[in-house]
């Protein structure tokens, strides 16, 4: 089921949570909504679910306008950050809840329901746990039960709101891999909200980066990491340093030195600008051409070493990332920096 969101807006009182969001999700796609808290990603997800009423715009499920449909009519599966399992019901009863509440004429027989529960328990690797209560399960197990409960009603779209947010780092990673495999097998159109970029880049087919109720960029994980479209995305995803530069006749300058960036497209503006550089795109040599700078800091972190350089004539510190086994320079050494890739934004 493909999903088409058109010019969606949502205001809470006088504050706008979504400013005209347009988004298409292809059938069977696993899409991550990534952004800091307050970026509107959860509001967007809840509007799709029907848990929030949008202030304007349309939501189409497979071409059919669902904007005014109730939550119950939308046939979505929703997984909450804190599982929202019914703790007075057994795992089996939790999973079958969505089938049991159906009106009599569409409700499957008791035998069909119990078969479905067994099938889903096997799918989430919790066969034999049907008779237990949620309080007897670990966090990761509970979240898998919540997923099975959402899948039991055969939803047209699966919506996950920070599904791994309440779990510890190790379980999080395991469950992330598991969800990816699970999605590849079952092929549900899936939207998931996260503020964890590693999770989004690792798991999703496509990532939508949001900030302040707007989409900043959408694209594959490679796109958003390697080619951030806006200063916000550069800042939010991965690591980067920001340098104040000046563009003069299409070429960027730091202080009096020109910064040569091989793959930078020609600049169509002059004046002050911001240059965003990732540490892994900074190389340094002891001689030759480049941006001359002085080593001001050295910091070993696991398998790599960060070296801070202060470019001549500025206060800004540019970091470079090198393997830890490479002979490091000393503080005060001079080096020529080569910036292999960067983003340059006017302003």
């Amino acid at each position: 089921m493909e999903l088409d969101i058109r010019n969606l807006t949502k205001t809470f009182g006088s504050t706008a949570a979504l400013h005209g969001v347009d988004l298409k999700v292809a059938s069977g796609e696993l899409l991550a909504l990534l952004g800091p808290s307050g970026s509107g990603k959860t509001t967007l997800l809840r509007c799709v679910a029907g848990l929030e009423i949008p202030s304007g715009g349309q939501i189409l499920f497979g071409g059919e306008d669902a904007s005014f449909k109730s939550v119950q009519e939308r046939q979505i599966g929703f997984v909450f950050q804190h599982y929202a399992l019914f703790k007075h019901l057994t795992i089996a009863d939790n999973i079958s809840y969505g089938l049991r509440v159906r009106p009599r004429r569409t409700r499957p027989s008791a035998a069909a329901i119990s078969d479905k529960v067994e099938e889903l328990l096997a799918l989430i690797q919790l066969s034999g746990y049907g008779g237990r209560y949620p309080s007897q399960l670990s966090g990761g197990q509970r979240q898998r039960v919540a997923l099975a409960r959402a899948l039991a009603v055969e939803p047209r779209v699966l919506l996950l709101d920070e599904p791994f947010g309440a779990l510890d780092a190790k379980v999080r990673r395991e469950l992330r891999l598991w969800l990816r495999e699970f999605h590849d097998r079952t092929g549900h159109t899936t939207l998931f909200v996260t503020h964890d970029q590693e999770e989004a880049l690792d798991l999703a087919d496509r990532v939508v980066v949001m900030s302040n109720g707007k989409i900043e960029q959408e694209g594959t994980p490679e796109d958003v990491y390697d080619r951030p479209a806006t200063p916000f995305v550069f800042d939010f995803i991965g690591e980067s340093v920001r340098l104040d530069v000046r563009v003069d006749r299409g070429r960027p300058f730091v202080g009096q030195q020109e910064v040569s960036i091989p793959k930078l497209p020609p600049l169509l503006f002059d004046g002050p600008a911001k240059l965003y550089v990732r540490p892994e795109h900074v190389a340094f040599r002891r001689d030759g051409d480049g941006l001359w700078a002085t080593v001001v800091s050295l910091h070993r972190s696991g398998s790599s070493r960060r070296i801070g350089f202060r470019a001549d004539g500025t206060e800004a510190v540019i970091e470079a990332l090198t393997p830890a086994d490479r002979e490091p320079p000393r503080i005060g050494d001079r080096a020529a920096l080569e910036i292999r890739a960067a983003g340059l934004f006017s302003g």
Partner: protein, 313 residues
């Protein structure tokens, strides 16, 4: 001459840390309290268990157990046959029946309506909400005799409501119905006030989850919210019931106190006391105590069972 490593005085270097004899290891053993610690007392970093448990036990004994024990002692001195004769006296029986049945009915009646009021007060915001919230407590605060007189004035055959009811052939005051009404009045706050905080804490995501799974609103409330509220409802019911059984002031005015018809058990006790029939009063009191205790115990057991099963997620 000394035997090596046995009787010779050990220097500090001879001891590896953690070996018996290492001063660092000896210390916790010495520090362990060798006082009157009962075997069920687990060591805890929170001090004051012994002090508080002793105080609690003494206090409960003095305030609750002593008077009740004295009552039972007094009743037991009557002798079994005499006690039974008093208990199964038909006037006593009908008073007990009226007391417990109307109390049960009033508490049960208060459950749905108290729940509804709590729901409205918690879930909706409307002008005057705080005012209505405050008047819930009035039955608590009012001297019960005042409530009794007010209710009687309303429901008596010449009162505002009583006169209307009389047109349709109903008599409210001076009948068991009047008793029931007075008990509904005094019991309402117990349900509302026990349900309210729990309802406010109910995770809205549970209801949203049920809705996404296709459950309609009524179904969601019945299958998701009510089970969460049920321990609070049961507690409120137990409190309202207990209060109603012991209620005296508000009932005696409206009841009319006609023996075999609208005479409640607490009143019967007072009547027996006024007649200097201490044995009879004690017997009725002991029976009331036993039934009340049994009911509350049952309710507690149901709650304990629910807790053990569902745990706290």
């Amino acid at each position: 001459m000394t035997l090596p490593g046995f009787l010779s005085p050990l220097s500090e270097q001879d001891l590896a840390p953690g070996e018996p004899g290492d001063p660092a290891r000896q210390l916790p053993l010495k520090a362990r309290p060798m006082t009157l610690t009962a075997p069920f007392v687990k060591p805890s970093v929170l001090p004051g268990f012994r002090l508080t448990i002793i105080f609690t036990l003494l206090y409960l004994t003095a305030i609750v157990l002593l008077p009740l024990g004295a009552l039972l002692f007094r009743a037991s001195s009557l002798g079994v046959s005499e006690l039974f004769a008093l208990a199964f006296d038909s006037r006593t029986l009908s008073a007990l029946e009226l007391s417990f049945l109307t109390s049960f009915a009033a508490a049960a009646f208060n459950v749905p309506f108290g729940l509804l009021i709590a729901w409205v007060l918690v879930r909706y915001d409307f002008p005057g909400r705080r005012f209505f919230d405050a008047i819930i407590d009035l039955p608590f605060a009012l001297p019960t005799a005042v409530a009794g007189i007010a209710l009687t004035a309303l429901y008596a055959p010449k009162g505002w409501i009583g006169s209307v009811a009389a047109v349709f052939g109903f008599k409210i005051a001076f009948t068991p119905l009047g008793v029931f009404l007075a008990l509904v009045f005094v019991g309402l706050p117990f349900i509302v006030r026990t349900v309210q905080p729990v309802l406010a804490e109910v995770d809205r995501e549970l209801e949203e989850a049920a809705a996404t799974l296709g459950a309609g609103r009524l179904r969601t409330v019945a299958s998701v919210v009510l089970p969460v509220l049920s321990p609070a409802i049961l507690t409120g019911f137990a409190l309202a019931f207990a209060r109603a059984v012991g209620e005296y002031g508000s009932v005696i005015f409206i009841a009319g106190n006609i023996p075999y018809v609208s005479e409640i058990a607490p009143l019967l006790i007072v009547i027996k006391l006024e007649e200097f029939d201490y044995a009879g009063a004690t017997a009725v009191a002991a029976i009331m105590l036993t039934i009340s205790f049994g009911t509350l115990l049952l309710i507690n057991l149901i709650q304990a069972r629910a807790r053990a099963r569902y745990g706290h997620v």
